[in-house]
């Protein structure tokens, strides 16, 4: 087990190092920083002096090492445009993204998993078919279309909910629902398939034929076994949530991290963009690592397989 987790940790570190390298290379070889900073031109001597001062005359690897040293002490640089500290820009926007994201995650788990489990147990019933039909729809429609549909219906037509910003708790309703819908659909569909798989297994048939109560079979034999693959799907879903939040923030004009990222792409502000890349990639890598650990804890078979 230790060996398995050690490998995973090593791979996570390798991934992060590669991400940092990509981020740094993007930052370093993107356009001419001097043109950007001095739109009216700069003298050759002045530029050479600045290059010396900032270490731009050093070889690539030396610069990369300096960059890593900076990151290690929390120096993520400044925006090429506003001169603001990149870290401060993100820190200011982080709460909105985290709040909407985690609420959507909770909502999706609370609805999607029971929905999928129930629809597997009541397979073929009219209500189940309708639910899975809706799930199919929610699965195929992108966040920004869902969001605009909800704004039109609940915001403008029914005038029930506010549609921009996050001023009051009511403002959270539409963005959270929008972010959660595709995830609910995905979780329900996956849970249903996993349950159906478990129902068809020998141990479930045995449990039924020895006369166990259906409720007990569902709880102990089917649900438990269906839950394990769910762990890795949840990891994927959280990564999907990160993508989705960029769109949801754009639709509802939320003051979140996604807006900074899109703005940075538009402005080609690589100093700002690189931090977003590092942070998002770091989050995904961390999630994968947690998923691996949970997986090993939940399913001893994984451990044996990896150690063998």
């Amino acid at each position: 087990m230790a060996r398995f987790l050690g490998w995973r940790l090593l791979r996570a570190l390798a991934t992060m190092l590669l991400v940092l390298l990509i981020a740094f290379a993007t930052l370093r070889y993107s356009g001419e920083p001097f043109d950007r900073m001095f739109p009216h031109g700069v003298t050759v001597e002045h530029q050479a002096a600045l290059e010396r001062k900032w270490g731009l005359d050093q070889p690539f690897w030396a610069q990369f090492a300096a960059y890593l040293r900076g990151l290690a002490v929390g120096d993520f640089g400044r925006s090429l445009f506003t001169g603001e500290r990149v870290w401060a820009m993100y820190a200011e926007r982080m709460p909105a993204t985290l709040a909407v994201g985690s609420l959507a995650l909770l909502l999706a788990i609370a609805i999607g998993i029971p929905l999928g489990a129930l629809s597997a147990l009541y397979r073929g019933a009219a209500g189940e078919r309708a639910a899975m039909g809706v799930a199919f729809l929610g699965y195929a429609v992108p966040h920004f279309v869902i969001g605009i549909g909800l704004i039109l219906w609940l915001g403008y037509y029914a005038r029930a909910l506010p549609t921009t910003g996050l001023a009051t708790p009511a403002h959270y309703v539409l963005p959270v629902i929008t972010l959660a819908i595709p995830m609910i659909a995905g979780l329900a569909r996956f849970m249903r398939a996993a349950m159906l798989d478990a129902i068809a297994q020998d141990y479930a048939v045995t449990a039924e034929s020895k006369g166990l109560a259906p409720g007990r079979i569902a709880r102990v034999h089917i649900l438990r076994n269906a839950m394990t693959p769910l762990i890795s799907v949840l990891g994927l879903e959280v990564a999907g949530l990160i993508n989705g939040s960029i769109f949801v923030e754009a639709v509802f004009s939320l003051p979140g991290v996604g807006r900074i990222l899109v703005g940075a792409v538009e402005d080609r502000d690589f100093a700002v963009l690189q931090f977003g890349v590092i942070a998002y990639a770091g989050l995904v890598v961390a999630i994968n690592l947690v998923v691996d650990c949970l997986y090993v804890a939940a399913d001893p078979r994984v451990r044996l397989e990896q150690d063998a």
Binding site: Y139, A140, P142, I148, A193, A194, L196, A200, F247
Partner: protein, 298 residues
């Protein structure tokens, strides 16, 4: 962008009774959805012929005109007009062209890249295989959207950048499936015989491995098409994809956002088109996968 990896293939086939009926139903669904898709593609291809207006013709006198079935709508603009009076029907038709074009080219690029790397890993020997798979593993960890955003920031927002970047973020699925098959098949008797007769790796790949992969690859292409289409639409929606005045469904939805109160159709019409396309693709892909039984991954 949702992952097709999340829905495992439905197992536990329905016992006896309703099976044939169900299969017939499925075949009908496939035909119906497939025809719907073909129709949409045809509409997009025929856009220059059937579009009632120039998609970029501005008419400030007819701004935000409603679609024909609403009060004040006319047959001049069957789906209404946008914020600067451009005909929405024409723009949707051209938008289909843009979206399908970018998605198809991007997918083609990713398939070529993935198949090439997969073959290299599967046939090229142990160390090449290890290196290629490590790169693939690391690559899978990186969020697609972020890579796309970086690429666009670096290379600009021309259409070829979108195509290349989409290809660049989607290749790993193909690489995996091709590598797996190559590893399996290179032990097969006929491949060994071919090698013994002096067949080169390229010959073996072309003659023995790729033909065996045709059907799973087709299913995979179908399943990943809506995701790729949504990548273009999403980036255009955010304003960093296809640039104006080129008609793009995503861009139309994004631009129409500011006019939701007095003209829902500005965003609504292209949204409906996108939903129709992705739903039909999903239906066709699911039906095809049930037949071939391959796990698509996003």
């Amino acid at each position: 962008m949702s992952d097709a990896a999340l829905d495992a293939p439905p197992s536990a086939a329905a016992p006896g009774a309703g099976r044939r009926r169900r299969r017939r139903l499925r075949a009908d669904t496939l035909t119906l959805a497939g025809s719907g898709l073909a129709l949409i593609v045809l509409l997009g291809l025929a856009a220059p012929v059937i579009a009632p207006h120039d998609p970029n013709a501005v008419n400030m006198l007819a701004r935000i005109a409603p679609p024909v079935w609403m009060d004040g709508g006319t047959w001049t603009h069957p789906l209404g007009t946008d914020q600067i009076g451009r005909d929405l029907l024409s723009r949707c038709l051209y938008g289909i062209r843009t979206s399908f074009g970018v998605a198809a080219l991007g997918l083609l690029f990713s398939a070529v890249l993935g198949i090439g790397l997969g073959l290299l890993a599967g046939l090229g020997g142990r160390w090449i295989d290890r290196a290629a798979m490590t790169v693939t593993d690391v690559f899978i960890t990186l969020p697609n959207l972020l890579l796309l955003l970086c690429g666009i920031a670096l290379l600009g927002t021309e259409i070829w950048v979108l195509v290349v970047m989409i290809g660049f973020v989607k290749w790993e699925g193909y690489a995996r499936i091709v590598r797996g098959e190559a590893l399996k098949l290179r032990e097969a008797g006929y491949v060994e015989a071919s090698r013994a007769l002096g067949g080169s790796a390229l010959w073996i790949a072309r003659r023995h491995i790729l033909p065996n992969l045709a059907s799973p690859l087709v299913v995979m292409l179908t399943l990943s098409f809506p995701g790729v289409l949504l990548m273009e639409a999403g980036l255009s929606f955010l304003g960093v994809g296809v640039q104006p005045p080129t008609a793009s469904l995503g861009r139309m939805i994004g631009d129409g956002r500011d006019y939701l109160v007095n003209g829902w159709w500005l965003s609504g019409m292209p949204s409906l088109v996108i939903v129709a396309i992705t739903l039909l693709f999903q239906i066709v892909g699911d039906a095809l996968r049930d037949r071939v039984d391959v796990r698509g991954d996003g």
